[in-house]
Amino acid sequence: MSMNVLEASGLGKRYGGTWALRECTLEIPAGHVAALIGPNGAGKTTLLNLAVGLAAPSAGGVTVLGGRPAGSPAALDGIAFVAQDTPLYKNLSVADMISITRNLNRRFDRPYAKARLAELGIPPKRKAGKLSGGQQAQVALTLALARRPRLLVLDEPVAMLDPIARHDFMAAVQAAASADGVSVLLSSHVLTELERVATYLVLLARGQVRLAGEVNDLLTANRRASLEELALSYLRETPTEVAK
């Protein structure tokens, strides 16, 4: 499988006078759980917003799923995105969210969504706003997976979750990646959770890509035992960020 799920060339995004992302050239091959890591403000969310078409680039370009322009109908059709804090319509029931997501997409596996929520013990009649943070994250992930995407994009999916919910969520992501062959691109600053699942790593700092490649290759080349050690060694080279 030679397709790249994400290709960026000279990609940049400027908000006002400051560049949130600069000169980003990157190719992420399909079939990975790719972790986008870096300190707060490194440009992780910006890169993901550009990849899903929520933001338009100020410079360069980005395509997904083998050359589809980010945000185009073809791109949106194959990507499922779960934004930071997993926004759901708080006044709608889980069943309503399923119905809306089904209507808004070409493919939607309703039996899968219902079965998964039943397995998690989330009642479909419950308003989304009345669910716990972990349950809301699981609902958002279920809606995204039921779209049968080829690329699942998750922005800081576990940042707001307690350790158990965090573990369950990452287990679900990993299961989807290995069982259904979904490529995953997720951003996080919780390195320990990524250790078990990430097979590809992109390290961002100060709006620029510092390191990108398959986790095993990077560990061998840099003679590091763990992903955390590797990431920290690179982040220490930019002392201002570590201070944060």
Binding site: A56, A74, D77, A83, Y89, S99, L104, N105, G181
Partner: protein
């Protein structure tokens, strides 16, 4: 690791046909059913209330116009009972605020809530596409509100009908000009048009401000400013007013201004008062009853006219009511479409 099963992907999915519009019907309904229900309950309850008030108003009007002989004490009572009714709604203030209420509380939160709570990041990354999503919602809600407002304005115009009867003046029945500010906006064309305009103002304000409460406040402020400017300044210029020296301008006309001239020169206020005072001394030095007062005034006007004075009236005849309705409805519709297009353009280009 075991062999991975990959779902087969449809081969043609790089050249996708857009999802059908009807998919948005269920989405819009589920998300906005409380807004739909709220508008239906509000307008429905007011329509029932208007129907109850209107039934007795119409009965009183029928009794007053059918009464014989006109001018008898019994008939005067019937006329008075009609004239005393409807003071509550005759100036339309209660229903005047309906369009802006609907616009502010349905239009403004439509996009502002998505922006405020972050759910736009969900909605805009689904397969339907963000500008088509916005277009479908705005069209569905805008159309539903316009239809609801139009149905309500049918009840409104039925309620106000007796006040526009052509024989009212002769019978001493209350007569209103359909142009009266506060009534013209409630017309069969204008009420729905103002409702749509308020909704469109709300939608754009919500997209620009991105917060629900400030967007509602801005919608109310902009709408009030627009309604004030149109009622106070713009509307009278839709067609150039007529000018007449006839003393008997019908009460249904919209009188924009009156002035007196003598020998081609316009009279000042003080000169006019002097002329009135001396004329009233000649024609009716002693006036007691109210009827006498009106008669004396009319005699005085005729006396002045005979002595070289001319009263000029600038007015819009009531026959222009429908052209004015369509002119106002037309430009409000154009404005609404422009505002909605701007809203969709903002959705399309806005970066997260």
């Amino acid at each position: 690791m075991t062999a991975q099963t990959r779902p087969t992907q449809p081969a043609e999915d790089t050249n996708l046909r857009p999802l059908p519009w009807r998919r948005m019907a269920g989405v819009t309904w589920r998300q906005h059913r409380f807004a739909f229900a709220g508008v239906a309950v509000l307008l429905g309850a007011l329509a029932v209330y208007l129907w109850i008030l209107g039934s007795s108003l119409h009965n009183a009007y029928a009794a007053a116009t059918a009464c014989h002989p006109a001018g008898s004490p019994a008939c005067q009572d019937a006329v008075n009972s009609f004239n005393d009714m409807g003071s509550f709604l005759s100036n339309g203030i209660i229903v005047q605020v309906l369009p802006v209420l609907i616009g502010a509380f349905v239009g403004a939160p439509l996009l502002a809530r998505e922006m405020e709570t972050g759910t736009f990041r969900y909605a805009w990354t689904q397969g339907f596409g963000r500008w088509r999503w916005a277009l479908a919602k705005l069209v569905a809600l805008g159309l539903a509100l316009t239809v609801a407002a139009e149905l309500f304005s049918l009840v409104l115009s039925w309620y106000f009908q007796p006040y526009f009867g052509p024989g009212n003046q002769a019978l001493g029945l209350a007569e209103l000009s359909p142009f009266v500010t506060g009534l013209f906006d409630l017309g069969r064309v204008t009420f729905a048009a103002w409702t749509l305009a308020a909704f469109s103002i709300g939608a754009l304000a919500g997209m620009l401000i991105r917060r629900v409460v400030p967007a509602i406040a801005a919608t109310i402020a902009v709408y009030a400013g627009l309604a004030f400017a149109v009622g106070g300044f713009l509307r009278e210029h839709y067609q150039s007013p007529l000018v007449t020296s006839n003393l008997n301008v019908p009460e249904s006309a919209w009188i924009l201004g009156q002035w007196w001239t003598k020998g081609g020169a316009v009279l000042s206020q003080s000169a006019l008062r002097q002329a009135f005072d001396s004329a009233i001394q000649v024609v009716a030095p002693v006036v007691t009853s109210r009827t006498q007062k009106t008669q004396a005034y009319n005699t005085m006007l005729r006396y002045l006219t005979k002595h070289g004075y001319t009263q000029w009236t600038r007015y819009q005849p009531s026959s222009r009511f429908w052209p004015f309705q369509w002119i106002e409805g037309g430009w409000l519709l154009a404005l609404s479409l422009l505002l909605l297009a701007a809203t969709i353009w903002l959705v399309r280009r806005r970066a997260a």
